[in-house]
């Protein structure tokens, strides 16, 4: 078929359908990301505890790392829904499936990030008399988060891509929308190229976003962005130093 027979203008004609599909995919992925971050962290902490707890977490992680997204969503939407007699919407089923899967991956990412923080950090916090929970939230977690950020970004890209299999339960995401358009236009090459381009664009955007987040967490702040984000704090400290330097106190 000569190239002239491809009607690239279709992409523009169906832009709102395609973008709505992308929006749905992103909504599912973002909600699932938030839930997976919480569940993944809890699993990681469980995994790092003593025997019976760590086993439970390890079994969960190894099971759900091994199941394909397609199987999981069918299982949730058709299997679990029947077994416990609830009717999930396709959106809910997608979110649950992604959360089940990606909690397992994120748990391993968080575990290795937490384990990378030297023991001395926690010991310093405890020796100062801080409560263990406070040491976790103020000392360990911020440092581990910075380590985990790039991998979390990769996982998020994977989640967006995995929404494509939810076409089987009828979620109106990118692939489903594309299938529908192809059914009326008979231009699969054009439309699936557009679909692929959307995924690639999103992957680039997510990568960029997570790099930015990582950069803002540099200590000392590195680059314009992190200075902009943390400038207020820095200025406050500098003002305090100036004030304190100006007033030599009795204890000096």
């Amino acid at each position: 078929m000569p190239l002239a027979n491809y009607d690239w203008g279709l992409i523009w004609d169906y832009r709102s359908d395609l973008l709505n599909g992308l929006l749905t995919a992103l909504e599912v992925a973002v909600v699932a990301l938030v839930l997976s971050l919480v569940c993944g962290m809890l699993l990681a902490l469980l995994r790092m505890r003593a025997a019976p707890f760590s086993w439970i977490a390890a079994i969960y992680i190894n099971v759900f790392r091994g199941i394909p997204a397609l199987v999981t969503v069918i299982w949730v939407y058709f299997g679990v829904a029947l077994a416990i007699d609830v009717k999930f919407s396709v959106f809910q089923a997608g979110v649950i499936a992604l959360t089940l899967l990606y909690s397992a991956f994120l748990a391993e990412i968080f575990r290795s990030a937490l384990e990378a923080i030297p023991k001395g950090q926690q010991e310093a916090g405890l020796a100062l008399g801080m409560k263990p929970a406070r040491v976790f939230f103020s000392v360990t977690l911020p440092q581990a988060t910075k380590i985990a950020i790039p991998n979390v970004g990769n996982m998020f890209i994977g989640m967006v891509k995995d929404t494509s299999v939810f076409t089987v339960i009828g979620l109106l995401e990118v692939v489903r929308v594309t299938q529908n358009v192809v059914a009326t236009t008979f231009q699969p090459f054009v439309l699936y190229t557009a679909a692929a381009a959307l995924y690639v664009a999103v992957a680039f955007a997510i990568d960029f976003l997570f790099r930015l987040i990582e950069r803002t967490m540099e200590a000392p702040p590195d680059g314009l962005l992190s200075r902009a984000v943390r400038g207020r704090r820095q200025r406050r400290i500098q003002a305090l130093i100036d004030a304190e330097t100006a007033s030599p106190s009795a204890s000096a």
């Binding site: 010991e123 100062l128 204890s251």
Partner: protein, 272 residues
């Protein structure tokens, strides 16, 4: 005489300069610690009185760090008595009646400051925030108050103008002085130092020792593990030689010139 039941003090010099017979603020009796099958503290007896500067020295692996880490319960003792300010925190001595009440580790730690060989500053926080975080978390100070007190603590160690720097931007010596300020800001009754200068380049050791000397002059009770025997001789009211999980010999400053125990002599002649 101090209460050192199993190892009598070898030096019978009257304690002229030292802070007298006040009740010990820290008292270890028959303190034992095992890691699995390995017993690393084999019954330690030690009494530290208010204002006293105690030096622990001895070969690597003799259990000095474990003694310090037992005192603030970073390593819970396997058995024995650990008293702080009259309150029992240890698991107890076998055969003796159990203490009616045992203190909580967090209350103990809030009264004991610790300085580590590797500084252990929080790398994601500025020097000021490193000092302010425990003030907020432990003392419940609001941020402005905590930061004001943190600035004062940094001024004490001569690092106020570095308050906005992150640990990475400070030399090892400066980091260690921030770590000292962080512990001091909580106004502890006792300060523990675990080889505070061992990770420093030689030219930076002096600054940290100077800070510790100033602190000693304020009357702070200090327990110091160090290989800086010159400093130890200068500051140590009570000097404890440890080997193989046991206290071999204790004494005043004379211990460095004239040890009575041959194992102390052997160690000193090897390192001096």
């Amino acid at each position: 005489m101090r209460a050192t039941p199993t190892v009598p003090r070898t030096s019978d010099h009257p304690d002229s300069a030292t802070p007298s017979q006040a009740a010990p603020v820290v008292e270890l009796r028959q303190l034992r610690k095992s890691f699995g099958d390995l017993e690393v503290l084999k019954g330690i007896d030690l009494a530290v009185r208010p204002g006293e500067h105690v030096v622990l020295f001895g070969p690597s692996g003799s259990g000095k760090s474990t003694v310090l880490r037992s005192i603030n319960l970073l390593e819970p003792p396997t058995s024995g008595s650990l008293r702080f300010d009259g309150v029992e925190y240890g698991p107890g001595i076998p055969g003796e009646p159990q203490a009616a009440e045992r203190g909580r580790p967090i209350d103990l730690r809030r009264n004991i400051g610790m300085v580590f060989q590797q500084f252990n500053l929080f790398p994601h926080l500025t020097a000021l925030e490193n000092v302010a975080l425990p003030l907020r978390s432990v003392r419940g100070c609001k941020r402005p108050q905590a930061e004001h007190q943190a600035a004062e603590a940094l001024r004490r160690v001569g690092l106020l103008e570095r308050a906005a720097h992150y640990p990475r931007q400070l030399s090892g010596g400066q980091q260690q002085r921030v770590a000292i300020a962080r512990a001091l800001a909580l106004d502890p009754q006792v300060m523990l130092f675990d080889e505070p200068t061992s990770a420093l380049d030689p030219e930076l050791v002096g600054g940290v020792l100077a800070t510790m000397r100033e602190l000693a002059e304020t009357g702070m009770t200090m327990l110091i593990v160090t290989h800086e025997l010159g400093f130890a001789r200068e500051i140590g009211d009570l000097n404890v030689f440890m080997e193989d999980g046991q206290v071999v010999e204790t004494g005043d400053r004379e211990i460095y010139a004239g040890p009575t125990n041959p194992r102390t002599s052997a160690f000193l002649s090897a390192v001096l």
